[in-house]
Amino acid sequence: MEKRKENEIKNTYQQIVQKKVPQSSILKDAVFAFVVGGLICDVGQFFMNLFLSLGVSKDDVGYYVATVMVFLGAFLTGIGVYDNIGKYAGAGSIVPITGFANSIVSPAMEYKREGYIFGVGSKMFVIAGPILVYGISSSILVGIIYYIIKILAR
């Protein structure tokens, strides 16, 4: 009985809070994410065209572009610019590979003061870690499904 009354109070309170909380402007956030994310892709496309024109083969050009974009993401993080882009762009600058670079370089910078082993070494993947774990896990899963489909299709 006591417990039920307590839960009731908590529920009512959460409804009151919900009404007071200002909502993020989804439209504005989405437009910013779209524009900035798109611009980052344009930069990537620029480098792809550049490398292709320099005679890099179509199969290899992806590695070249990824290397450049990761460098740019890391560089902008290092000089303290990327977090300001992220403040406005949100997912627009988190999803591209530059955001991945940011998620690794930012903890590496942050935890340098705890030393190279227990700081940089162990904290570097504190944000990117989950992405790697679930990215690799899901690619294994897809690989197995692909393998089974291939056997069945024979």
Binding site: V17, V21, D83, N84, I94, S106, M109, I127
Partner: protein, 340 residues
Amino acid sequence: MAEKKIGLHTVKLKNPPSILSTATIVGPKEGQGPLKDYFDIILEDDLFGEKSWEKAESKMLREAVRLAMNKINLTPDKVDYFFAGDLLNQIISSSFAARELGIPFFGLYGACSTLTESMSLAAMMIDGGFADITIAATSSHFSSAERQFRFPLEHGNQRPPTSQWTVTGAGAVILGKEGNGPYVTYITTGRVVDFGITDANNMGAAMAPAAADTILRHLKDTGFNAADYDLIMTGDLAKIGMEIAVDIIKQNGYDISSKFTDAGIEIFDLSTQDVHAGGSGCGCSAAVFAGYLYSQFMSGNLNRIMIVSTGALLSPTSTQQGESIPGIAHAITIERSVGI
């Protein structure tokens, strides 16, 4: 029956200790805020010449205490007890400051409620006859709090509109048996209140019921109402939490809205400083009280105020395990003169 206790949870100090001196040190962002003229030291660099933000925070706390002592030519050996706390794991800012100061030390953890928690105990210690001079101090630092509770600074994420900005600041208050005021006269100690808020980006809402609970008990215990106070200031409820607290108090029969403010709203300019709902952290109410409000007492603009520092008693682990956020709020009354 305790002789100094009135009502349920309030004590009325029989020999109200006087505030002898205060000092504040704040970071660059706070130094651009509306209260910039009231802080003793505004840091140009929030590393304060140290190698890490944790070291910088501890130095801020230590130097604030030293500065408050210097203002009245007090030496550490004359101080009986030092009460301090902060937000960092194992309250290292405070204990490392105490290591340098050499004053008998009680370390406290009350999250952002530490200013009034430490002042409550420092005042009771004097009123009880256990000490002549005590110091209460606390600190918080945006960068050290950010890395402990959220993300690395350079990580490009977005903050929701309910989030608050941890104040980089330290405040120290020296209390003494003899002095010319202002005096600490009433203390209402907070209970831990939890209404089930789990969003660590909305701490104001998590703490608002605790603030309302303490303020209501204080008013009932003392028989005061809003008219008896020049100002009632909570610690860091910020915009959303403050509105909710006023509503809850109103529903219980007290309209304090004309006297009510929040340190998290006072310390920053919400429209231009990009702090979202407002400031937070131990340093928030500490800097606003020890800087701005204390000077208002000294210039005679205030007669009686209530400070209610508010704390969200969460840890990163408790949040990740899905625990809700308990809040606490400690109230103290400060008066320019005592008697009658």
